[in-house]
Symmetry: C2
Subunit: 332 residues, 2 copies
DNA sequence: ATGAAAGCGCTAACAT
DNA sequence: ATGTTAGCGCTTTCAT
């Protein structure tokens, strides 16, 4: 049926070992290499990667486990990871967990069965805390959310600092009743919440916060409720791009003007944030770089397995736009 | 080193075949099954999928080849495909081609080496025209862009009709100088262009169009140039979500007000289109459904290989928002 | 530089 | 219902 290496060998008049060497750039004389390559070309032979992986014990596969590829942060990270992976001759298996610990466990198990070379993983808080990298059989680089103290390699944003930057900016604009919306299952959410609380506490201000599932729908519903309350906030900080969208949709539905009646700021400088409403003030993460860094760390870890775990902390950049502009805000 | 099936067999006091049967839900007595499952649990055994695939000749893997996962259309399609695939016990390999025919060929070749069960593919026009599904060794379902007459299964939008809907709407709003921006390498672009031309021709109107690479940057640059020309259009139709973003960015940079000085409409009803500017008029594709339909067609094709190729054509829905609102437009 | 042969871990005949 | 065994297609010793 399908052409195997022995068919190519027979056609070229050499042994299967020689064909294998041609395929793997092993030591073969030029004359023989030519003959073999011609036979491969003529037959349309395609090596069977399952067989190669089984025999060589190298799968050249990495797993990328995120909560939802539709979250713009992960969309961009995934593209960066795939670019870097294919450049390094690796393929990527992408998994969406929806922040569901059961799915996380299932996919981690799948990664073991695939005998992946390594995994890049954005875990929920729950999983991050209990993750034992030793028992998995492959190295893990955490992204977006770091696990507990130095057990895993990780590349993350300085989330507390980032949240503080946003709060400071709103304070400078004269806002006082500043509310925050954070993911309830992520470490990211917890860290950003901590920065949010710290920055407001320094001024002796309250830090009203809501925790929610990281989806557009959940955010929109939560914000709609919040805006209907008597002492609604004059500014809102959204912990990720999806939640930020939800804030804007809810404000629009409720007829609350941005920034006149509500200042809005959030995370992730996606293209649309420049175009929405008066332009959205956001904290930009170096998204593509996070993906490539994670991949690079994974490759380094594979090269030096004994090396101590490293955590790369990247800083965000505040991008000020109209959604928090002072002149339009209710001051005092 | 790692635990193999024979280790589990030895621990449970049975043969490897019995363990394999337990794994595959074969006929095994309850008592033995219990014993084996206990041994699996105790040892932390994980089946080696490469070995299983090699032996069984079933990879349970499908390939998803798109131009760029960051294109919101493909982001959503990919999520739908992955959901459906994992439900069917299949893995997905995602590939980004950037509409580069060389990359397309490379990934198609990779799919052969993976011995994938099937592929869902959004090809460039060039590749779509020359694609020989017979020679590939696996079934292909095309999405977004159909190939030539009935050679491949495909699920597509009625692109010409969709473009006509947008044009008709703009005509109703009183626009006359309507420009179009289309992907230069995609069949989608060509089909949408055809509908665009047809709708305008019926009114005896010119149909100025520009063809470009499907990226945010290319669109922004092209539109910036166009808006600077003397007889610039009073309305612009963008052939996909990325290009639509580019139109808006360019208009904003050039200080051209939407919709007062320029009406804007485009494809893909992403969340952000509701929030950008006055809200964007878009043609909504049933995105998630396209992904699931493609997966379903692939599974059907696998079940009935001889079946004649089918093309599922889905209709888009016009979503009217502020970016084309009549009262604000320069009439005549 | 090349070939012969073993075996990666598993499933599927075939036997019992 | 369970065991024995061959072999999926390849890479990798070990010879020569």
């Amino acid at each position: 049926m399908t052409i195997r290496i022995k068919d190519v060998a027979a056609a070229a008049g050499v042994s299967v070992a020689t064909v294998s060497r041609v395929l793997g750039n092993g030591p073969v004389s030029d004359a023989v290499r030519k003959k073999v390559e011609a036979a491969i070309e003529a037959s349309g032979y395609r090596p069977n990667l399952s067989a190669r992986r089984l025999r060589s014990q190298h799968t050249q596969t990495i797993g990328l486990i995120v909560s939802d590829i539709r979250n713009p942060f992960f969309t961009n990270v995934s593209r960066a990871v795939e670019d870097a992976a294919y450049e390094a001759g690796m393929r990527v298996i992408l998994c969406n967990t929806d922040e569901n610990p059961d799915k996380e466990a299932m996919y981690l198990r799948l990664m073991q069965e695939e005998r992946v070379t390594g995994v890049i993983f954005a875990p929920t808080r729950q999983t991050a805390e209990t993750l034992d990298p030793a028992g998995l059989g492959f190295p893990v680089v955490l992204i977006d959310r770091a696990g507990p103290s130095g057990l895993n390699d990780a590349v993350v944003l300085d989330n507390a600092q980032a949240a503080e930057l946003l709060v400071e900016h709103l304070l400078e604009q004269g806002c006082r009743r500043i509310g925050g919306l954070f993911g309830k299952t992520s470490t990211t959410g917890a860290e950003r919440h901590a920065g949010f609380v710290a920055a407001l506490a320094r001024r002796g201000l309250p830090a009203p916060a809501r925790f929610l599932a990281p989806s557009l729908e959940a955010a929109e519903a939560e914000v709609a409720r919040w805006l209907a309350e008597p002492d609604r906030p004059e500014a809102l900080i959204a912990s990720n791009g999806l939640v930020l969208m939800g804030v804007l949709k809810a404000a629009r539905r409720a007829g609350v003007a941005v920034p006149d009646e509500l200042a809005v700021a959030g995370f992730d400088n996606d293209a649309w944030t420049e175009l929405a409403g008066p332009g959205l003030t956001v904290l930009e993460q170096p998204v593509y770089e996070i993906g490539r860094t994670a991949m690079a760390m994974l490759l380094e870890r594979l090269a030096r397995p004994g090396q101590v775990a490293r955590k790369v902390v990247l800083s965000g950049r505040l991008v000020v736009r109209g959604s928090t502009r002072r002149e339009a805000l209710p001051v005092g």
